[in-house]
Symmetry: C2
Amino acid sequence: MSAPAALIFDVFGTCVDWRASVARDVANAIPSVDAFAFADAWRGEYDPAMERIRSGGRGYVPLDDLHRENLDIVLDRFGASCADPDALNHAWERLDPWPDTVAGLTALKAGHIIAPCSNGSIALMTRLAKWGGLPWDCILGAEIARDYKPKAEVYLTSCAALRLTPGEVMMVAAHNGDLHAARAAGLLTAFVPRPTEHGTSQTTDLAADGDWNLVARDFNHLAELLS
Amino acid sequence: MSAPAALIFDVFGTCVDWRASVARDVANAIPSVDAFAFADAWRGEYDPAMERIRSGGRGYVPLDDLHRENLDIVLDRFGASCADPDALNHAWERLDPWPDTVAGLTALKAGHIIAPCSNGSIALMTRLAKWGGLPWDCILGAEIARDYKPKAEVYLTSCAALRLTPGEVMMVAAHNGDLHAARAAGLLTAFVPRPTEHGTSQTTDLAADGDWNLVARDFNHLAELLS
């Protein structure tokens, strides 16, 4: 493998602990519900909402707006109400990084361009970076492609925006499915497990299921492997 | 004036000294020419090249490619040759910040989203930030609008990407023309003079020529005014 010029990252789950962070804000805003169950249900609406856009059934809508629509769906399902759902929707901008994320990204930034390649919008990724101190060089991903991962267009548009070929760019993710799609688009791949993304009884993505270019224990280890 | 949530910046001339930096690389690559005259001529082709795109006579082409085309034009005009014009074109990614730029941006970043709103591409702005240590939160500007300043679309697309209204965003520039266009689009405005951008005999943009929301001596002063 030749050394990548840029590393692009999945964010929800890979860089930040969305579940515990969203549950914290849900617990504050809607004390009557099981906050983790609510967070899981809210996240559960994520993929179906994007699928309508990926399939062409709906034009590009930023994830901020999909989250807001999905919040109404989940409030209804839980029979719950929320004094200020618009404010609660900003929970997705207040997701805490995993303990190694900032140090690992900072080390990787010294030798590489680093950027999110997330389904989150530019606005969402920007505010999330300010919240957690994520030291991105730029924001790539769904919004510049106006489509959603795992469609190849999102990875390819992100590489093109850096004026790099896919073979010069490494996708870093805690989700094997993201890496399968990135590799099919020609990118290098690195897997970093996040075994508690879905809680302590998580059963998915506990280990690499593909022959990825790199498998690292965490972002600090990834920086060591690439140094 | 209400406090801006985000500050977006002109870059060439406002954040970085493109002229001395490009001249340095020209002097190394083409010792036979007057490096400052060559840099001025190269920059002189910038606006006409963008105007074809702004006027609809040509689709969006990133500034990196316009710079490369313009290099051939200027080499021909100077009767000069260059061993590796593609390498010289990367001079635009190696522009030194003004002495106050990094400290001022760092101070401003603590309380605001900061981003370039430049005619440079995402790739160019990303590499320029790494070269000079510009601590942007994200990269906005021409590429996400697929058009060039001073067209309103570039300012408006940059605000929309942050999910902010134009009135929540302040455009910072050393060029009155940029600020006139930004204000016409509804943005707040701040002027910071860069009286040697074009050399010691500069005659343009030495002072504010509009009733801008703020006029600051440099970026550190701007941070004081906004603190």
